[in-house]
């Protein structure tokens, strides 16, 4: 979150750039772009203070379609450029757009360190569980055994669990949404903006050309309510089309229970965004076959941000040592004259 606010009244149109959007018709990226353009006017950030930074991938074309400052960088490295931008000018609102390959394959190292450092940037990870731009290789979030161009006999890798990786990196904000959940996505973007520190949002996104239907169970209106658990801080974890199922935790083991029979709401776990242990349990539901997929803010905590600490440290140094005296420094301790 930034303190700089604007009096300007901005609209969705203000955020649409003059470039034709080139994603495949029906791509989930359109939805993310649209929700972003709808949400940003309400954040009241001066438009010139917004920077979108991307890596390489279909999702990384995002900055070209936003009428803000943008930087399309190199594969996996967006968090590093974003860190430099934010540290150079902490007043900017810095957003990283990345994908499952960009952030978790080549960019894995930068991803975990950005989260660890807690620099006040917002990372949106478009997870389509495939490499779209390069035409269909498997990614670090693709399921074991997936048959793709580079794995014609099935992939041999177990997939990463992005929220678990984020929590393992000491992330202070971990959330998930789905490309089709328009209002939820807007809320999540707002929550990211409000968070001070690195805010990580995983967006399940459909690549209709190379991995169509990966999240159908979460998107299809007929079945999705039984498959998704919408987390709300302070509310018991209820899901299901009839709101007849809930999540209970027995010791540290999660269980899906029916509210129609032996359990009532009061048996269910109440979501607490500040509970890291709970967040870990929820993250581990990602690939669990008999559990719904949690979406929403899994975890959030306010901790000192790297950029604030850096600014403070510089101020303290100036106070303690006095403002730098260049000539004194250049001369050093021992000089002598030659006449």
């Amino acid at each position: 979150m930034n303190e700089v606010r604007t009096e300007q009244v901005l609209s969705r149109r203000d955020f649409i750039s003059d470039q034709d959007v080139r994603w495949c018709p029906g791509c989930g990226d359109y939805s993310v772009l649209s929700q972003t353009q709808k949400t940003f006017p309400s954040l009241a950030i001066p438009k010139e203070n917004i920077v979108f930074i991307s890596g390489i991938g279909c999702s990384s074309r995002f900055p070209y379609y936003m009428n803000t400052y943008g930087f399309h960088t190199i594969h996996g490295r967006a968090p590093t450029i974003a860190s430099g931008v934010k540290l150079a000018n902490p007043e900017l609102s810095v957003w990283v757009v990345t994908g499952d390959g960009d952030a978790l394959s080549i960019g894995g190292n930068h991803f975990i360190h950005a989260l660890r450092r807690n620099i006040d940037i917002n990372i949106i990870l478009f997870n389509n569980q495939i490499y779209g731009l390069t035409k269909g290789q498997y990614s670090p979030t693709s399921e074991l055994g997936k048959v793709t161009k580079s794995t014609p006999f099935g992939s041999l890798d177990r997939p990463f669990n992005p929220p678990a990786v984020a929590l393992g990196s000491q992330a202070t904000f971990v959330a998930r949404t789905v490309d089709k959940y328009t209002h939820h996505l807007q809320d999540m973007l707002r929550r990211q903006y409000d968070h001070s520190g690195t805010a990580f949002l995983e967006v399940y996104q459909n690549c209709l050309i190379f991995n169509d239907g990966a999240f159908q169970h979460l998107a299809d209106r007929e079945v999705r309510d039984d498959n998704v658990l919408i987390l709300e801080h302070g509310k018991p974890m209820i899901f299901g089309k009839e709101k007849d199922k809930g999540l209970r935790i027995d010791a540290s083991t999660p269980q899906v229970v029916s509210l129609e029979k032996d359990y009532s709401q009061s048996d269910l776990v109440v979501h607490d965004e500040n509970d890291r242990n709970l967040a870990g349990i929820l993250a581990n539901l990602t690939y669990a076959p008999d559990f719904p997929t949690p979406v929403g803010v899994l975890y959030q905590e306010e901790e000192p941000t790297y950029d604030d600490l850096l600014v403070q440290q510089i101020e303290q140094a100036k106070e303690k040592l006095g403002k730098g005296d260049l000539m004194k420094l250049i001369r050093g301790a021992d000089t002598w004259e030659v006449d």
């Binding site: 203070n49 490295r77 590093t80």
Partner: protein, 610 residues
């Protein structure tokens, strides 16, 4: 009244050598500092072992420090050693070969024990057999003498042992007529929280000095007069430190925040450390998770309006290649510093080399030109770093600075510049108001594009690694546009010849041999050419600081000599650039030993080709 003779010498080369734990670097630094105060010109060459701490007494653990100090202008740490100070048998084993015939050995006899002799591979004690027959050997029981001197203080044995380097220092001070007070003062400051160490070290220092004076071992002491340096205020400086100061000075003079993204790597880590101390100057230093993150953050900071810097060495530069390319195509001001070391791959991290010129010129995919500058001396690291910043900001480009391990830790007296005489750091942020903003519209003269930084209203635009359309900066795959943009980037760098001052030639404007060099070969080449010119030979020396683009007058200059010799610590990189550019049959002198050239290497080669 001195009862001993005092002989006057023009130059002396001393090499201190001992085990890593013996404090040879510290000893060398103190001697250097005192020599500077006395007014000698000096050049140093620290020779570090690669390991943090090899087994005590082993050959791999020997650490050395060489200094040449003189009453005239000198450029090298000296080809041959006059005085070799050895604190243990391993040091003698490693370094005896570099001592000139008739040279002096000062040996800490106490450490020549059976065990140490065996560890160093001596079959018999070289202090007793005829190994040192052709040298002047002084066996001194330094360990025992310092133990006596500091006994009363009651320090533990190890601390006592550690003062023996002060004894050696005091003795050398006496031998060359140097004052001990500056070192005594320094000891008071360094150990101010441990007065017993101040006392012990000072006593050892004085004991060494007295020993020279009183002992009958030394009949003569020497003096080396101050050298005629240009008037001004001087300090001693090492290359890396000068580099850091140059960057800071550019930032302060240009009133632009300095951002450093880096990662520890030998021999560049000093710069990372140094810049991280400058917080009270507002410098933002960022030790990233790896080399790529270091430059990534620097590129981001440049995008946001900072003067960005990323220091490293060969293996790190290799990692940074893709990101440097991004800086080239996005045309952002960035200074990439390589402190070259012996390679390939991990190579020899503490040894010098200049084999990364091709990496700087070509180490990126596609046509990815950028200016390349190289300082010739430790002091010049300041002015080249400053110039690199100035050029980066003027032309909106990454700039490569090639230094090396020899310059990095080598020291020399450096005349402190007058800040208001330094060239101005000119740049401006785009403010807009000139019609629709075009990120890739260029300045007519420099071909630099405008710097519109985030936070500036109305100038929102997107840049990135994809090829961009001329003027608008929109992504473009157009065939003719790509050719145009590739040539524009090339032209921008080629146009920088306007920044290059006329090439100075030391010697004659025409002649038999021109020795052409770049980087740290300056000292050895200059010394060699000076020597041969005293013999009336037709040899001259030109040394370039800009390697890309090459100086516009260089082609003409090369034609005026019968032969062009290019000594390099690589297999011929500037050599190949010069041959390709000028179609001149230049010849190389190539030694890739992880050590600087000796003047004699160059003298011998010139004689051979004359």
């Amino acid at each position: 009244m001195p009862t001993k003779d005092v002989e006057s010498l023009e130059s002396v080369v001393i090499r201190f050598a001992g085990d890593s734990g013996d404090g040879m670097q510290l000893t060398g630094d103190r001697f250097t500092s005192t020599a500077a105060l006395v007014g000698n010109d000096l050049v140093t060459f620290p020779d570090f072992p690669a390991e943090i701490r090899a087994p005590a007494g082993s050959l791999a653990g020997v650490s050395a420090f060489q200094i040449q100090f003189s009453s005239k202008d000198i450029f090298t740490p000296g080809d041959q050693v006059d005085v070799l100070v050895v604190m243990n048998p391993a040091a003698l084993k490693v370094h005896l070969g570099d001592l000139r015939p008739g040279g002096t050995i000062i040996a800490n006899e106490s450490s020549f024990t059976t065990k140490n002799l065996r560890m160093a591979g001596w079959e018999s004690n070289p202090l007793e057999d005829d190994t040192a027959a052709e040298y002047r050997l002084y066996n001194i029981e330094i360990s025992r003498l310092v133990a006596n001197a500091v006994e009363a203080i009651g320090l533990p044995g190890k601390s006592v042992e550690r003062t023996k380097n002060m004894f050696a220092l005091g003795l050398l001070y006496w031998m060359y007529g140097r004052p001990i007070e500056p070192t005594a003062d320094w000891l008071k400051e360094k150990f101010k929280s441990r007065p017993e160490l101040v006392e012990a070290n000072t006593r050892a220092l004085k004991a060494g000095h007295n020993f020279g004076d009183i002992s009958e071992l030394f009949a003569t002491s020497y003096q080396v007069d101050p050298a005629p340096l240009a008037p001004g205020t001087y300090r001693n400086i090492t290359g890396n430190y000068a580099l850091g100061l140059g960057l800071l000075t550019a930032s302060q003079k240009g009133d632009i925040p300095l951002f450093m993204g880096g990662y520890p790597i030998t021999p560049a880590s000093d710069i990372l450390h140094q810049l991280s101390y400058y917080k009270n100057f507002g410098v933002k230093s960022f030790q990233a998770e790896d080399e790529i993150a270091g430059i990534g953050a620097a590129v981001g900071a440049a995008f946001a309006g900072n003067l960005a810097v990323t220091p490293s060495s060969g293996p790190g530069i290799a990692l940074k290649g893709e990101a440097i390319g991004l800086a080239v195509i996005t045309e952002l001001p960035l200074v990439v510093i390589s402190i070259q070391r012996a390679g390939p791959s991990t190579g020899m991290p503490t040894k010098t080399e200049q084999a990364d010129l091709f990496q700087a010129m070509f180490g990126r995919n596609s046509e990815s030109p950028l200016p390349v500058l190289a300082p010739a001396t430790p002091g010049e690291c300041f002015s080249i770093a400053y110039e690199a910043c100035r050029v980066a900001l003027k032309y909106m480009t990454p700039v490569f600075v090639l230094s090396d391990a020899f310059l990095a830790s080598g020291a020399e007296p450096w005349r402190i510049p007058e800040l208001d005489k330094l060239p101005p750091i000119d740049f401006e942020y785009e403010k807009g108001g000139n019609g629709p903003f075009q990120p890739y519209r260029r300045d007519q003269e420099t071909l630099a594009r405008a710097w519109a930084i985030p936070g500036t209203p109305q100038l929102e635009h997107r840049i990135g690694g994809l090829e961009k359309e001329n003027l608008t900066g929109n992504v473009s795959y157009d065939a003719d546009n790509h050719d145009l943009m590739v040539r524009q980037r090339e032209q921008k760098v080629a146009g920088m010849v306007r920044e290059i001052p006329p090439t100075e030639v030391y010697g004659d404007t025409t002649g038999d041999v021109l020795v052409l060099g770049w980087g740290s070969t300056f000292g050895a080449i200059r010394t060699a050419v000076e020597k041969l010119r005293r013999e009336k030979l037709s040899v001259s020396h030109a040394h370039i600081r800009w390697i890309n683009p090459l100086p516009p007058d260089l082609g003409e200059i090369l034609l005026k000599y019968q032969k062009v010799l290019i000594p390099e610590v690589n297999l011929g990189q500037l050599l190949r650039l010069v041959r390709a550019e000028y179609l001149v049959d230049a010849e190389g002198l190539n030694l890739v030993r992880g050590r600087p050239f000796r003047e004699s290497h160059i003298v011998d080669k010139i004689r051979e080709i004359l």
